[in-house]
C-alpha cells in the first residue's frame, strides 16, 4: 500500500468518528499544516521519478481534495448545528414595544399658512411680512380710515401708548402700505401673520391670524378678483366646484368692497364646503381705494387692483373640523397632538396640499 493510500484510509476512518471543531482543526493541521502529512507529500513530488510523477501528483491531488472536502463538510455541519442551537435559545417576544420615538407636530395654523402660500405661489404671488406693532398711520390713516371714522369701531385696538399712536396691528392690511411704499408697482403679494383685537369670548380670540392679498397692476378689475378667490377657495378646500357669492359691503380701504360667502351644509355633524343651502361668510375684499393708492404714491390713473383679507384660523377650523377657536392658543398637549401635522407633510404644489 502506498503512503498515500495509507494516509487516506487512516484519516477517512478517523473522520468518520464524532469530532468536535477543535479535533477537526487538529486533523486539518496534521494533514495540511506546514509540515502536515499531505503537505509533505507535495514536497516529495519533485523527487519522484519522472515516469511516475504525473500519476503521483494526480493521486495526491485527488486524496487532498477528498480529505479537504470531508473536513470542510464536517466543520460546516458542526457550525450549522451550533447556529441552530443558538437560534433556538435566542427567540424573543417581538410583541414587546419598540424603542420609543417621540413625534413632533406642526400647528394647524402653520400648516394652513403653508398651504395658502403654496396655492398663491402657483399664480405668482410672493409672501411679504410686516411688524406686529404698527403705527396709527399704517394701520388706519393710510388705509383711508381717518381718526374719528366710525369704521374704527370695528377694530377694538390694543394700544401701546396713551396718545394711541402705537398699537398691535388690527389687521394685516398695513403690510399693503409697507409693501407699496417700499417698491414700485406692479404688486402681487400675500401677507400672512398675527393680528390683534381686544375682543375675547367663545368665538373671538384677542390674537388671531389673517392673510392679506394685494394685486396691483394695469387693468386689474373685479373679474380678476373673483377669479383669484374662486381659484383659491377651490384649491384650499380641495374640491372641484364651489358655489360662491360676492355681496356688497364696505371697508374704508377698498371700493367697491365685497364680502364673500360660500355654500355649505352640515351632514352627520360634519361641515361640507361648496354645496348646500347655507351661506358662510369667509372673507372680505375689494378694489383698492384710490385714496390708499395716492397715500402710497401709486398713481390711481395708471394702476389699479384688488386686495383681500382672510381669517386663517377660521379657514383652518372649516377645513379640519375644529370647533373652538380658543383651543388654537391653549396649547393643550392632546389638542396639539390631535390636530397637528407631521413635519414631513409639507404642503406643496407638485405633491398636493395634504396626504
Amino acid at each position: 500500500m502506498s503512503d498515500l493510500k495509507k494516509i487516506k484510509d487512516e484519516f477517512i476512518s478517523k473522520l468518520k468518528g464524532k469530532l468536535d471543531l477543535a479535533e477537526l482543526n487538529q486533523i486539518k493541521s496534521e494533514l495540511f499544516g506546514k509540515n502536515g502529512l499531505v503537505s509533505s507529500q507535495f514536497k516529495k513530488i519533485a523527487t519522484i521519478d519522472f515516469s511516475e510523477r504525473k500519476k503521483f501528483a494526480s493521486d495526491l491531488n485527488i486524496i487532498k481534495n477528498e480529505l479537504q472536502d470531508l473536513i470542510n463538510f464536517k466543520i460546516n455541519e458542526i457550525q450549522k448545528a451550533n447556529i441552530n442551537e443558538k437560534l433556538a435559545k435566542e427567540k424573543i417576544d417581538v410583541t414587546l414595544p419598540e424603542r420609543s420615538f417621540v413625534r413632533g407636530k406642526i400647528h394647524p395654523v402653520s400648516q394652513t399658512i403653508d398651504a395658502i402660500s403654496s396655492i398663491f405661489s402657483e399664480i405668482g404671488f410672493s409672501v411679504e411680512e410686516g411688524p406686529d406693532v404698527e403705527n396709527e398711520y399704517n394701520n388706519f390713516t393710510a388705509l383711508n380710515t381717518p381718526d374719528n371714522h366710525p369704521a374704527r369701531d370695528m377694530h377694538d385696538t390694543f394700544y401701546l401708548d396713551d396718545k394711541k399712536e402705537r398699537m398691535l396691528r388690527t389687521h394685516t392690511s398695513p403690510v399693503q402700505i409697507r409693501t407699496m411704499l417700499k417698491d414700485k408697482p406692479p404688486f402681487k403679494i400675500i401677507a400672512p401673520g398675527r393680528t390683534y383685537r381686544s375682543d375675547s369670548d367663545q368665538t373671538h380670540s384677542p390674537m388671531f391670524h389673517q392673510v392679506e392679498g394685494l394685486h396691483i397692476d394695469k387693468n386689474i378689475n373685479m373679474g380678476h378678483l373673483k377669479g383669484c378667490l374662486n381659484y383659491f377657495i377651490k384649491e384650499f378646500f380641495e374640491i372641484k366646484k364651489i358655489k360662491m357669492r360676492f355681496r356688497p359691503s364696505h371697508f374704508p380701504f377698498t371700493e367697491p368692497s365685497a364680502e364673500v360667502d360660500i355654500r355649505y351644509e352640515i351632514k352627520d355633524g360634519k361641515i361640507i364646503i361648496g354645496e348646500g343651502d347655507q351661506w358662510l361668510e369667509i372673507l372680505g375684499c375689494g378694489m383698492v381705494h384710490p385714496n390708499v393708492l395716492k397715500n402710497v404714491k401709486v398713481d390711481p390713473k395708471k394702476f389699479q387692483g384688488y386686495a383681500f383679507g382672510i381669517g386663517i384660523d377660521r379657514l383652518a377650523m372649516l377645513k379640519y373640523g375644529i370647533n373652538d377657536l380658543r383651543a388654537f392658543f391653549d396649547c393643550d398637549y392632546r389638542w396639539l397632538n390631535h390636530f397637528g401635522f407631521d413635519p414631513l407633510d409639507v404642503p406643496t404644489n407638485y405633491r398636493g396640499l395634504s396626504r
Partner: protein, 803 residues
C-alpha cells in the same frame, strides 16, 4: 337697524314677497343679520299687577310675589328685581312663553324650593331696550289693561328684520333710505311722501343762538315751539309701529320723535319749553361743567364739547343726549322741538371721551342729511298736533354755515375699467336718478349732483360702487388667474423660518402658538434688562405686557400640561418677541422647552432625566440641517440669568462670535420654584432667526468638491488630565489645528473625575481618526503626529497625557 316689511311699504310700492326682500337687501349691500317673528308669540305677555310680596324663605335677594294677571286666582311668581314692589304694574310672561332676549321657553319651575308660575319681565328681556335693571314699570294707565296682552294684536305678521348697515350708509338708518335703495334695484317703486300742509302762524318766541366761536360744530339749529299740547300715550298705530321694530313706547311726544328718526333718519329732540331759562345757546362747554343726562348719569364735561344750554347751564349734549332738567313728561304743556346738524367727527370725539353711546350719536357721527331739518320738524310737529293738539309756531332756523352741494364729473368708461363688465348709459342714468342724483350730460362725462343724504359719496369710485352694487355683483365675470410666477414666493429668511419650524418639530417638539402678550409676572422672569412694554388697554391684567421672551408663555402652558398629567413633553413656538414699542422692534425666535425624562418606564432602555445635552443636540442638529457647519460652532457658557448658570450655553456660528445664534440649557431652579412647576428637569433653548447669517450661496453651490481618501486610516486614543476649567472644545480645537489634513475625526468618549485624578482636575479621553489623502501612513508617520498632538495639547492647555 331693525325694520319690518310693513313699515317699508309706507315708502315702497311692491307686490313681491318677504323672501325676495331678504335676498334683495343682501344683494344690494344691506346685509340681513337675522329675521325673527315678533307677532307669533308675543300675545302671551300680559299686563299684570303685583298685589303682595314676601321675602323668599331661602334666598335673601328673591321675593315671592302674588300677581294679578286678570284671572280669578293670583299667580305666585318668584322675582329677583329690586323694584318688584306691591302695587307695581308690569309685564307677566306665563309658562310656555318664549323670552325674546334669550329665545328660551318658560316652564313652571322651582326656584330655591318655591314654585314660580311664570316670570315678571324686564324691558331688556322683551328686547324693548337694553336696560336690564329691574322689571318693566308701566304707568297707572295700564291698570285697566290688567290681564290683557301687553303687545296689541296687530293684523300684520310682519317679521322683525335686523340689518347690518355699514358705517358709510347713514341714509339707510332710516326706513325711507332703505326703500330708496330697494326701488333703485328694481324692487318696487318709491312712494313720493307728501308733506302735510300745516299753517304756521305764530312766531317762535324762544330765542336760539349758535355761538360763533372757534370749534363750533353745530352749523344749523332748527326749532319750533308747540304750545298747549296734552302729552299722552301714543295711539295704537304708533305703539304698534315702534313695538314692531323692538322699541318701547313711552309717551306720544317721545314716540313721535323716535318714529321720525327711524322713518327718515332725522334725529330730533323735544324740550319742555317751560323749563328752558330764557333761550337756547349752542356753545362750547367749559372745562368741568356738569349735567345730568336722560340716562340719569351725571357727566362732567371737558372743554369745547358742543352743548345746548340756557341761562342756567347745560341742557344737553348736542347730537348725543338730552338732559333731565328739560325733558318732556306727561304733564308737559309747551315743547320746543330741535332739529340740528352737528359735525360727525366732533360727535364721535365727544361721545368717546365721555364713553357714551346713544342712538342719536350713532346717527350723527355717520352723517345726517343736513337738508332734512325742516322736513323732520314739520313731520314731527304735525304728528304732535294731530295726537296732542296745540299750536305750532313758525320754524326758526339758525345757521353759521350752509350746505354746499357736491358735484362729481363721472366718466362712464371708468365703470367697465374697474368692474370688468358693461352697463348702458341709460341704465346708469336710471340707477343714479333712482338713488337721488341729479344728472347733467356734459361732452365727455356725466355731471352728477350728489344727494344731500349721501355723505359717503365724493369721487368717481363712489359712483362706480353705487352702480355695481345696484346692478348686482353676480354680473361680475370670473377671470381665471394665470399660472405664472416671475418672483420667488419666499425670501431666504422666510425659507429659513419654515425650515427651522419643521426641523424642530421633527425632533419631537409639538408646535404651539401662544399670544404675543403675556403675564407681567411670568415675563419678568425672562425679561433681563429689556424695557417692559405695557399694553395701555389689556384684556386683563394677566395679559398686560408684550412678551420679551417666548419662555414666559411656554413655561406657563408647559406647567398646565404637566398638571394634566403629561410628564414627558417637548413643546416649541416660533414667533416674535419684543424689544421695544416701536414698529420693527421685534425679533423672531424659535423657543423650545422639554420636561421630564427620557425612556420613562421603558422595559428596554434605562430611564434618565432630560438634560441640557438633549437640548443642545436638538439645536446643533437643527442648525446643521439648516446648512450651518457645526464644526465651526463656538460655544461658551455665558447665558441670560434665566438659565442655570452652570448648565447652559450659547452657540455662535463661528469663532468670530459675532451674534448669538442660540442659547440652550436648564431653566434656572429659582424660576421653577417660583412658578411651582412639577417636573424632574426642565431644559430649553432659543434660536435667534435674525442672528443666523444667510448664505449667499444656494444649496447647490454649498456642496464642496467631493474628495475622500481610500488610504488606510488609523485610530488612536488619548487621555489627558487637565484642570477642571479647561473645556473640551479647547482641547478639540488645539488637536484639530495640529494637522487638519491628517486628523479627520475627533471624538470625546469619556470624561472622568475622581479616584486617581487630583481634586481640581479631570481626565478627558479622546478618540482620533488619522488618515491621509495621499498615502498610507506608516508607523513613523503616526508616531510623529502622536507626539505633535501631545506636545501641542500639553503646551497650550496645561494638560498632561495620562500614562
Amino acid at each position: 337697524m331693525k325694520i319690518t316689511f310693513d313699515w317699508l311699504k309706507d315708502h315702497l310700492k311692491t307686490n313681491l314677497k318677504e323672501k325676495n326682500l331678504l335676498e334683495q337687501l343682501t344683494n344690494i349691500g344691506l346685509e340681513v343679520e337675522s329675521v325673527e317673528s315678533l307677532s307669533s308669540y308675543n300675545q302671551l305677555f300680559k299686563v299684570a299687577k303685583i298685589i303682595k310680596t314676601e321675602k323668599h324663605p331661602n334666598a335673601d335677594r328673591l321675593k315671592v310675589c302674588d300677581v294679578n294677571v286678570g284671572e280669578k286666582e293670583l299667580k305666585k311668581v318668584v322675582c329677583g328685581a329690586n323694584n318688584a314692589n306691591e302695587g307695581l304694574i308690569t309685564i307677566y310672561a306665563p309658562p310656555g312663553a318664549i323670552i325674546p332676549k334669550t329665545n328660551t321657553k318658560l316652564e313652571i319651575a322651582k326656584i330655591r324650593g318655591v314654585t314660580s308660575y311664570g316670570m315678571l319681565c324686564s324691558a331688556s328681556e322683551l328686547n324693548l331696550s337694553n336696560e336690564s335693571e329691574g322689571i318693566t314699570e308701566l304707568s297707572k294707565k295700564y291698570e285697566k289693561n290688567i290681564g290683557k296682552s301687553y303687545f296689541s294684536k296687530s293684523k300684520s305678521k310682519s317679521n322683525l328684520i335686523d340689518l347690518s348697515i355699514t358705517p358709510n350708509r347713514p341714509d339707510c338708518l332710516g326706513i325711507k333710505g332703505i326703500a330708496r335703495d330697494l326701488a333703485a334695484s328694481g324692487f318696487g317703486k318709491l312712494k313720493v311722501s307728501k308733506e302735510k300742509q300745516i299753517k304756521l302762524k305764530t312766531k317762535q318766541t324762544l330765542k336760539v343762538k349758535i355761538n360763533k366761536e372757534k370749534g363750533q360744530v353745530c352749523s344749523i339749529f332748527g326749532s319750533c315751539l308747540i304750545k298747549n299740547v296734552k302729552n299722552t300715550e301714543s295711539p295704537q298705530w304708533l305703539k304698534d309701529k315702534l313695538i314692531s321694530v323692538g322699541q318701547k313706547p313711552i309717551s306720544a311726544i317721545v314716540d313721535i320723535t323716535n318714529y321720525v328718526m327711524l322713518d327718515i333718519n332725522r334725529p330730533l329732540h323735544a324740550y319742555d319749553a317751560d323749563k328752558i331759562e330764557k333761550g337756547i345757546i349752542v356753545r362750547n362747554s367749559k372745562s368741568g361743567e356738569e349735567f345730568t343726562a336722560l340716562d340719569n348719569k351725571i357727566y362732567k364735561l371737558e372743554k369745547n364739547m358742543c352743548v345746548i344750554s340756557d341761562n342756567k347751564g347745560v341742557l344737553g349734549l348736542g347730537g348725543i343726549i338730552g338732559g333731565i332738567r328739560s325733558g318732556t313728561e306727561f304733564d308737559t304743556k309747551n315743547i320746543l322741538l330741535e332739529s340740528a346738524y352737528f359735525d360727525p367727527k366732533s360727535i364721535r370725539n365727544t361721545a368717546k371721551k365721555l364713553n357714551l353711546d346713544t342712538d342719536a350719536k350713532f346717527r350723527f357721527e355717520r352723517g345726517i342729511d343736513p337738508l332734512s331739518i325742516e322736513t323732520g320738524l314739520k313731520k314731527a310737529a304735525s304728528l304732535i298736533q294731530e295726537i296732542c293738539g296745540g299750536e305750532i309756531s313758525k320754524i326758526d332756523i339758525q345757521k353759521i354755515g350752509s350746505y354746499k352741494t357736491k358735484t362729481i364729473n363721472f366718466d362712464e368708461n371708468s365703470f367697465e375699467n374697474i368692474v370688468g363688465f358693461k352697463i348702458s348709459e341709460k341704465e346708469m342714468r336710471r340707477i343714479l336718478i333712482d338713488l337721488g342724483f341729479i344728472i347733467k350730460k356734459e361732452k365727455n362725462f356725466l355731471k352728477l349732483i350728489v344727494p344731500s343724504w349721501r355723505p359717503d359719496i365724493s369721487q368717481q369710485i363712489d359712483i362706480i360702487e353705487e352702480l355695481v352694487r345696484i346692478s348686482g355683483y353676480d354680473k361680475i365675470r370670473t377671470i381665471d388667474p394665470i399660472k405664472d410666477r416671475s418672483k420667488s414666493t419666499l425670501t431666504q429668511t422666510q425659507r429659513l423660518f419654515h425650515f427651522l419650524q419643521r426641523a424642530i418639530a421633527s425632533k419631537g417638539y409639538l408646535e404651539t402658538i401662544t399670544w404675543s402678550f403675556t403675564d407681567q409676572n411670568y415675563n419678568d422672569h425672562f425679561r433681563e434688562a429689556v424695557k417692559e412694554i405695557k399694553i395701555v388697554n389689556p384684556i386683563s391684567s394677566e395679559l398686560g405686557v408684550l412678551r420679551n421672551s417666548i419662555f414666559s408663555n411656554l413655561i406657563m402652558y408647559m406647567s398646565k400640561n404637566l398638571d394634566r398629567g403629561f410628564r414627558d413633553l417637548s413643546i416649541f413656538e416660533i414667533g416674535p418677541i419684543f424689544t421695544g414699542s416701536r414698529p420693527g422692534e421685534q425679533k423672531t425666535v424659535v423657543c423650545g422647552l422639554s420636561a421630564g425624562k427620557k425612556s420613562r418606564l421603558s422595559w428596554i432602555d434605562k430611564e434618565r432625566n432630560i438634560d441640557l445635552f438633549d437640548a443642545k443636540r436638538d439645536v446643533v442638529q437643527t442648525l446643521s440641517e439648516a446648512g450651518y457647519n457645526s464644526d465651526h460652532f463656538f460655544i461658551d457658557s455665558k447665558t441670560p440669568n434665566y438659565y442655570h448658570p452652570g448648565k447652559s450655553g450659547r452657540i455662535f456660528l463661528d469663532h468670530s462670535k459675532d451674534k448669538v445664534a442660540a442659547y440652550f440649557g436648564e431653566i434656572h431652579p429659582n424660576i421653577l420654584k417660583k412658578i411651582d412647576i412639577k417636573t424632574e428637569n426642565l431644559v430649553g433653548f432659543e434660536i435667534f432667526l435674525e442672528n443666523l447669517k444667510l448664505s449667499r450661496k444656494t444649496l447647490k453651490d454649498q456642496k464642496s468638491k467631493f474628495a475622500v481618501s481610500d488610504f488606510q486610516k488609523s485610530e488612536r486614543d488619548f487621555a489627558f488630565v487637565v484642570n477642571k476649567d479647561v473645556e473640551a472644545q479647547e482641547l478639540i480645537s488645539v488637536i484639530s489645528n495640529v494637522n487638519p489634513n491628517l486628523i479627520s475625526k475627533i471624538k470625546v468618549f469619556d470624561v472622568y473625575e475622581g479616584e486617581n485624578i487630583p481634586d481640581n482636575q479631570k481626565s478627558i479621553a479622546i478618540n482620533l481618526t488619522i488618515q491621509s489623502l495621499e498615502k498610507t501612513l506608516n508607523d513613523k508617520d503616526l508616531e510623529k503626529i502622536n507626539n505633535s498632538i501631545i506636545e501641542a495639547v500639553e503646551n497650550k492647555t496645561g494638560a498632561k497625557i495620562r500614562s
